[in-house]
Each structure stands twice: as C-alpha cells, then as structure tokens.
Amino acid sequence: MNLSTVRFPGKHDREQVIAVYHRHWFDILSNLFVPAFLTVTLLLGALIAPSLAPLLFTGENGMFFGFIENSLHLFLWLYLFLVWVDVYFDVWIVTDERVVNIEQKDLFTRRTSELRFSRVQDVTSEVQGIIPSILNYGDVYIQTAGEQARFIFHNVPDPVTIKDLVMKLAQRRRREIGEENS
C-alpha cells in the first residue's frame, strides 16, 4: 500500500503516515470461517444432491430448488461482506504525530481514538497461543498518561516490530519536547 495516498478522517495537512496495520490475515480468515464453510457446504450439496435425487432437480422442482440455493448464496455473500466490514475496517494508523485507532464496533457503531506520542508511557507486546506464536501475531498495549489507560492493537502482525516503532517515535517526541523546553 502506498502510504502517501492513505486517507482517514481527521488527518492533518502535513501529517505523514508511517505505517498502517490491519488485523492479521489469520484472524480475519477465522472470522470469515463460518460464511466460507457454509458456502462450500452449499456448493458441495448443489453438486451432490442432483445425483442422489434427480427428479427433485428437474423442471419446476429444479427451478424451485435453484431459487432456494441462489437465495442462500445471496444471503451468504451479504453476510460475508458484513463480517468483512466489521473485521477489516479495524485499523491502526501510525503517523509522525500520533497513533489513530479506527474500530468498527457493530453495524452502526464506529469508534475513532487517537494517542499522541507525548502521552505514551510504556509499550508492551503480547503473543499468546500456538497459532499466534507460529504466525507471529498478537496484541500491543500502549500505557498512556491520559484517561484511557491502555491503547490496544488487537491481533496485529509482528507485534514486536510495532512495539519498537511506537517506542522509537515516543522517544523522539520526548526528545523534541525536551529541546523545545530547554
């Protein structure tokens, strides 16, 4: 992804996007498992069923079962994208000024929160479980000085690198504040 073309609500004019993180692909896939499994089952059923009961799938009956099958595919396609919108649009954006978290909570709730590097106190990464350890994904917790005690990156790829990046940017910001004060 070309970071200079990244747009998000509230982006400042001179703000530079350094990195964009979505959930890890395995986490996205595991959320899409149910609609994908149902789609495959339906497709297999449509292939096998006519050979088991051919009269059910000819003429008017065939039209009726075609309609039922098509309707199920239609609902599954919609369901797949509703899940996709819910999962893929959870995004964490690291810029040269702050960290922005945009989270799709449910169908009509979207939450945007931001954290300036000057407020970062401590950053921790956590990889828990067998699959996350193998695929290297997990959470990153940022301890802040503000009201929101912790800022969390959920199931992001390579959490250690993200932790290092946030630490580096926070330290740089602290140095800049020190220089401005002295």
């Binding site: 073309t5 747009r7 059910l56 008017e60 039209m63 309609f67 509703l82 649009f89």
Partner: protein
C-alpha cells in the same frame, strides 16, 4: 397467493438492497485507499448483481400458484425417485 408472495419477495429484495448499500457505503467511506475501495466494491457489486438477477429470474419463472395448489408434487417427485431406487 402469488401477489402476496411477490410482495414478500419485494420486501426481501429491498432488505438486500439496503444491506448492500450499507456495505458499499462503508467500503467507499472507510477504505484507506481509493483503488482498494473501487476493487472491493467492484467484486462485491458484480457478484451481488449476478446473484440478484438470477434470483429474480428464478422467482418469476416459478409457477407459484401451481406449486402451492399442488404441494404434493415435490413429494411425488421424491417418492418416484426413492421407489425407483429400491
């Protein structure tokens, strides 16, 4: 009877349309890059339009009155198949 079924079908069709509009709005509004948004909407929209068109085609080609006035037709078809199998 067909009229009532058609009415229900149109309500369902409208529901699908509204849900699709919600999905498209979110993809266009919240995608981080315009190119990605256009590609995703293209994929979603093309498959959805194909499914909607074939769905409507199936629905309006079914003789609902005939099927509902003679509901045993399906049983007969299945019965004929199972008896031929034994």
């Amino acid at each position: 009877m067909t009229r009532i079924l058609t009415l229900f079908y149109l309500i369902l069709f409208l529901g699908v349309g509204l849900t699709s509009a919600y999905v498209v709005y979110h993809i266009l509004r919240y995608s981080l890059s315009k190119r990605q948004a256009v590609l995703t909407v293209g994929l979603f929209g093309s498959v959805l339009l194909f499914l909607l068109a074939t769905n409507a085609l199936f629905f309006f080609r079914i003789d609902w009155d005939g099927m509902l006035s003679n509901p045993s037709a399906l049983h007969r078809a299945y019965g004929a198949h199972s008896s031929s199998g034994y």
